[in-house]
Amino acid sequence: MPAELDEIVDLFAASPKGMRLELLLDYANRLPPLPDELASDRDRLEQVHECQTPFFVAAETNGDGVVLHFDAPPEAPTTRGYASVLAAGLSGAPAEEILAVPNDFYVSMGLGELISPLRLRGMGAILGTIKRLVVEDIEAAGDG
């Protein structure tokens, strides 16, 4: 698992229960907006259908690392928080490290008491979509 993501998981786990949602909101507020080239070329974005709000992700391999971008509306701060955690924890990491992230990595963040388990799985769904896009990118590169 990339060290950055590991650190974020530890940060959540080490925070008092009452602070964890605040921390997630901080992340939500820090989610970078889509770069212009993606905002004007939305075909490069993949919708994560498991999320209840319109939520899009782009994962593109660039040299040694995978570049991640996300788009979620302001009225879905929890989804934005998940995206921001993954952006901070995974962006720039090599493809094989991203593919090796356990699908349930978020369980140890300690959000289970605060967010219903069904909603929490949205985080896994986003990671699953990122992994699928990374695999598709690798396969496409192999074909080329």
Partner: protein
């Protein structure tokens, strides 16, 4: 309650505004000034069992928000007030007297450009008494629904048509909240919850609602009626319509709903063009 009414009563010390949302962080991004947060998962559900908080838990939750039994609580939230209606219904289980919904919810309040803040509500804690939870008058369990089928009672399935027919075993866009079997409780009539709402999040007017539920479905005041959906939040919306906007006294919400029924062993299920399985006695 209209948004105008609430705007005029924001400083009324006996009125507490409570926000209940689908998104657990939405309140923290900004809320109606003075509003408290009441989260359906963290505040209203039991942390272990699939059930609601008990009398002690409820008293603690209400006290922390400075609410007393004579407080008027006005609920609002995202998603057409689903969770606001759900929170109102849960508070009704404890017999809290004066409970209201903000017509149009968060959507309308924001659309009208009314004030929002991230400031803390600043309410002093109160001493809310420990009250018994009444699980009989407005709540139905699986066994009640089975008995209700036998008695040919009225059942309203408020899910989408695809969920009702059994084509989908989850709600569109909510695939993680599925059930092993699709279909509906035998005899249930399908009126998706949103039928009761206008696009701006407000409820339809009383005449339109009467036409949908009284004339359309044939629901009557003296008949026992049970509403259900998937986990009980959309049916709380319909329960509010039937109980409070149409004044029907004998309406219960089956909060176990399809996530329980569609996963339970050997309960009867109906699907279009198929005999009910297992057959009813």
């Amino acid at each position: 309650m209209s948004t105008e009414w609430l705007a005029e009563h924001l400083d009324d010390p006996n009125v507490v505004v409570a926000e209940s949302d689908e998104d657990v962080l939405l309140y923290d991004t900004g809320h109606i000034p003075g509003a408290v947060k009441m989260d359906w998962h963290a505040d209203l559900n039991d942390p272990v069992a699939r059930d609601y908080v008990d009398g002690e838990g409820f008293a603690e939750m209400m006290s922390a928000r400075g609410i007393t039994p004579d407080t008027t609580i006005v609920f609002y939230g995202d998603n057409f007030n689903w969770w606001a209606a759900y929170a109102l219904w849960v508070c009704s289980l404890f017999g809290h007297e004066d409970l209201r919904l903000l017509d149009g919810g968060r959507q309308k309040w924001v659309a009208e450009g009314r004030p929002m803040t991230t400031d803390a509500h600043g309410r002093e804690p109160s001493h809310y008494p420990v009250l018994p939870r009444d699980d009989e008058s407005i709540r139905a369990f699986k066994e009640d629904v089975l008995a209700h089928i036998g008695a040919k009672g009225r059942l309203v399935d408020v899910r989408s048509p695809g969920e009702y027919s059994g084509e989908l075993t989850h709600m569109p866009d909510y695939p993680q909240e599925g059930a092993l079997r699709g279909g509906h409780v035998p005899g249930a009539q399908n009126v998706p919850w949103k039928t009761a709402a206008n696009d701006d999040g407000t409820f339809r007017d009383a005449d339109e609602l009467a036409e949908i539920y009284r004339e359309g479905l044939g629901l009557a005041d003296d008949e026992e009626t049970i509403a259900y959906c998937r986990i009980g939040e959309r049916s709380s919306h319909t329960w509010f319509v039937l109980r409070h906007l149409l004044g029907m006294e004998n309406v219960r919400n089956y909060d176990g709903s399809w996530v329980e029924w569609g996963n339970a062993v050997r309960v009867p299920i109906e699907r279009p063009d198929q005999p009910i399985r297992p057959p009813l006695d």
